[in-house]
C-alpha cells in the first residue's frame, strides 16, 4: 500500500523469516510423537523381556516341563494340540458370545421395562442386585442340578454374571436424558414410543456401551467359572475343561496353552467391545472424540 510509513507494528504481518513453531511447541510435538510410539513399543518390550526371562529361568535351572514349561514348549503344545484346543476355544467362545447376547437382550429389555414403569423397577431391581452380589460359583452347582442341558446351564451361569452391568448402566442411561430436551418432547407432544426411540435410547447409548465393555469380560469369566463347576465328563468341553483335564494329567504345557487362549479371548472381546463403542460414539460423545491441540 502506498500510505506513509507509520511507526506502529499493529496489523503488520509477522516476519516471514521467523520460525512458525517456537522451541516450546517443537518440544511438545516431539514429546507427543515419542509417547505415541512408546505406547506400543514399551509393552512389547516388557513382553519380550518377560518371555526371555522365563525361558532363561527354565533353561538355566533345568526345570522339568511338568513343573514349569518354557515358552517354546508352550507354543509347541499350542501348535501340536491345536486340533483339540481350537475346538474347545470355539465352545468357550460360543458360550461367551451367546451369554453376552442374552445379557444385552435381557439387560436392555429389563432396563427399558424399568424406565417405562417405576413400579416394575421397585419390584424387581432388588432381586437383580441379589443375583449380582451372590457369587456365581455358589449358584452354579444348583443350576447344573436343575438344568438338564449342560450347554443351557453354562449359558445361564455366564448370563447371570454378565447381565447386571448392562442392566444397571442402561437403566441409569435411560434416566439421564437432558431435562430441557425432555420438556421439549412434551411440548411437541411426543408419544411414549417417540420419547423412547428418539430421546431415551440415544441418551442411554454411551452408558450401555460402557456396560457392554464390562459385560464382555464378565461373560467370559462366567463361562469359564461355570465350566470349572461343571467339571470334566459329559459334553461341552470348553477351554476351562481342557485346563482341568490337563491338570489331572500333569500336562502343564497344555494348561499354559489353554490359559494363553483364554487370556487372548478376553483381550479380543475387550478390543471388540471397545471398537464398537468407539464407532458408535466417535461422532458425538466426548469419551470417543479426539481432542485437537
Amino acid at each position: 500500500m502506498s500510505t506513509t510509513e507509520t511507526n506502529t507494528d499493529i496489523g503488520r504481518p509477522a516476519d516471514n523469516n521467523a520460525p512458525m513453531i517456537d522451541a516450546d511447541e517443537a518440544r511438545r510435538a516431539r514429546r507427543v510423537r515419542i509417547e505415541n510410539v512408546a505406547q506400543w513399543v514399551l509393552p512389547l518390550i516388557v513382553l519380550a523381556l518377560t518371555i526371555w526371562g522365563w525361558d532363561r529361568v527354565v533353561k538355566v535351572n533345568n526345570i522339568p516341563h511338568y513343573i514349569l514349561p518354557g515358552p517354546g514348549r508352550v507354543m509347541e503344545t499350542l501348535i501340536n494340540d491345536w486340533g483339540t484346543l481350537s475346538g474347545s476355544l470355539l465352545v468357550t467362545l460360543k458360550i461367551t458370545l451367546m451369554a453376552l447376547t442374552a445379557a444385552v437382550v435381557g439387560g436392555v429389555g429389563l432396563a427399558i421395562l424399568f424406565a417405562q414403569s417405576r413400579f416394575a423397577e421397585m419390584s424387581f431391581f432388588p432381586y437383580a442386585v441379589i443375583l449380582q452380589v451372590t457369587p456365581i460359583i455358589s449358584i452354579a452347582p444348583l443350576i447344573f442340578i436343575y438344568v438338564d442341558s449342560k450347554m443351557v446351564a453354562l449359558l445361564i451361569c455366564a448370563w447371570v454374571v454378565a447381565f447386571f452391568p448392562i442392566l444397571s448402566s442402561t437403566t441409569m442411561g435411560l434416566k439421564s436424558a437432558d431435562h430441557n430436551l425432555t420438556d421439549l418432547f412434551t411440548i411437541y407432544r411426543a408419544s411414549r414410543w417417540q420419547r423412547l426411540i428418539r430421546l431415551h435410547l440415544p441418551s442411554a447409548l454411551p452408558y450401555f456401551l460402557s456396560g457392554l465393555r464390562i459385560a464382555g469380560g464378565l461373560s467370559l469369566i462366567g463361562a469359564v467359572v461355570a465350566e470349572y463347576v461343571a467339571g470334566t465328563g459329559g459334553i461341552g468341553s470348553g477351554l476351562a475343561f481342557r485346563i482341568l483335564e490337563a491338570s489331572y494329567r500333569l500336562n502343564i504345557p497344555r494348561m499354559f496353552a489353554g490359559l494363553l487362549l483364554i487370556a487372548l479371548t478376553g483381550v479380543a472381546i475387550y478390543g471388540a467391545t471397545s471398537l464398537i463403542s468407539y464407532l458408535a460414539l466417535r461422532k458425538w460423545h466426548e469419551s470417543a472424540v479426539k481432542r485437537d491441540g
Binding site: D178, N180, L181, D183, L184, F185, T186, I187, Y188, R189, A190, Q194, R198, L199, P202, L205, K283, W284, H285, E286, V289
Partner: protein
C-alpha cells in the same frame, strides 16, 4: 417481510387470567398474573431470580398446570404451535444440526426428506447454511443457540417462548444474536415471549416489558416501547432507548423495594 400491526390493533392469541402457581402448597411462585398476548407482540418478562418469569413460561408451554386461574388460547387450539428456546441450546448431540432442526416435524410423524428444504431454509435464515451436516459439538456456543432458534422457528409457530436464551453467551455474541433475532422476528412476524434479567436486552428487543417482582412472583408494571422495528445501533444509542432503560430500571428498583443491586447480579 410480514407486516405487524401497531400495538393496540393486534388480535389476541393467548390470555392468562388471574393465574396462580403455588409449589408444595405454600411457595407462591406466581400470583394473579394477567397477560394478553397479541399476534406480533415481542413481550419481555423482566425481573430478578425467583420472580416467577420462568414459571409463567412453563405454564404457557403447558409443562405445568396453574394452581388457580385460566390460560386460554384464542381459537381454542392449545399450544400446538409453540416454539421454545431454553437457556442452553438443548440439542441432541447424537445427530446432525439439520436433524435437530427437523425434530418438531419428526415428532409429528413427518419424514425428514419431506422437510429437508424447509430445514435448509431456516438454517439459512439463522446464518447456518452449510452447517446442516455438522454435529452440535463442532459448533460454538453462539452457533448452537442459532440452531436452537432455527428449531423453534421451523414450524412457523404462533408463539415462540424464549427462556433467557442468551444469558450464557459472551456480550459480543449476545448483541449479534439480539440483532439477528429482531431481524428474524420482523421477517417472520413472529410473536415472542422473552424471559430475561437484563434491562437493556429487554428494552432493545421488546415492544412490551412486564416488570416482575419476587416473593410472591407477580407482575408489577407494564412498559410499552413504541420504537419501530427493525431496531439497530441507532436505537441502541438513542435518547429514547436510554429513557426507556431508565424507566424499566426504576420500575424494577421500586418493585424490589431497593434490593435491586443485590438481586440483579446474574447467577
Amino acid at each position: 417481510m410480514t407486516q405487524i400491526k401497531p400495538l393496540g390493533q393486534r388480535p389476541p392469541i393467548l390470555r392468562m387470567q388471574m393465574v396462580d402457581k403455588t409449589f408444595n402448597g405454600s411457595v407462591a411462585a406466581l400470583r394473579r398474573m394477567n397477560l394478553t398476548v397479541n399476534e406480533g407482540d415481542f413481550i419481555s418478562l423482566l425481573g430478578p431470580s425467583g420472580c416467577g418469569k420462568s414459571t409463567a413460561l412453563r405454564l404457557i408451554a403447558g409443562l405445568m398446570q396453574p394452581t388457580a386461574g385460566r390460560i386460554t388460547w384464542e381459537d381454542g387450539g392449545a399450544g400446538d404451535a409453540l416454539g421454545v428456546v431454553f437457556q442452553e441450546p438443548t440439542l441432541m448431540p447424537w445427530t446432525t444440526v439439520a436433524r435437530n432442526v427437523a425434530l418438531p416435524f419428526r415428532l409429528r410423524g413427518i419424514p425428514f426428506r419431506a422437510v429437508r428444504d424447509r430445514v435448509e431454509e431456516v438454517l439459512a435464515l439463522v446464518g447456518l447454511d452449510r452447517f446442516g451436516g455438522a454435529y452440535p459439538r463442532e459448533l460454538s456456543g453462539g452457533m448452537k443457540m442459532r440452531v436452537s432458534i432455527a428449531r423453534a422457528l421451523v414450524t412457523k409457530p404462533r408463539l415462540i417462548l424464549m427462556d433467557e436464551p442468551f444469558a450464557a453467551l459472551d456480550e459480543i455474541t449476545r448483541q449479534k444474536l439480539n440483532n439477528d433475532l429482531l431481524d428474524l422476528k420482523s421477517r417472520m412476524g413472529s410473536t415472542v415471549i422473552f424471559v430475561t434479567h437484563s434491562v437493556f436486552e429487554s428494552v432493545f428487543l421488546s415492544d412490551r416489558i412486564l416488570i416482575m417482582a419476587p416473593r410472591p412472583g407477580r407482575v408489577v408494571r407494564e412498559i410499552t416501547i413504541e420504537a419501530p422495528y427493525p431496531r439497530d445501533l441507532t436505537f441502541r444509542t438513542s435518547v429514547d432507548y436510554a429513557a426507556h432503560a431508565r424507566t424499566a430500571s426504576d420500575a424494577l428498583m421500586a418493585a424490589m423495594g431497593g434490593e435491586l443491586l443485590e438481586q440483579e447480579v446474574p447467577t
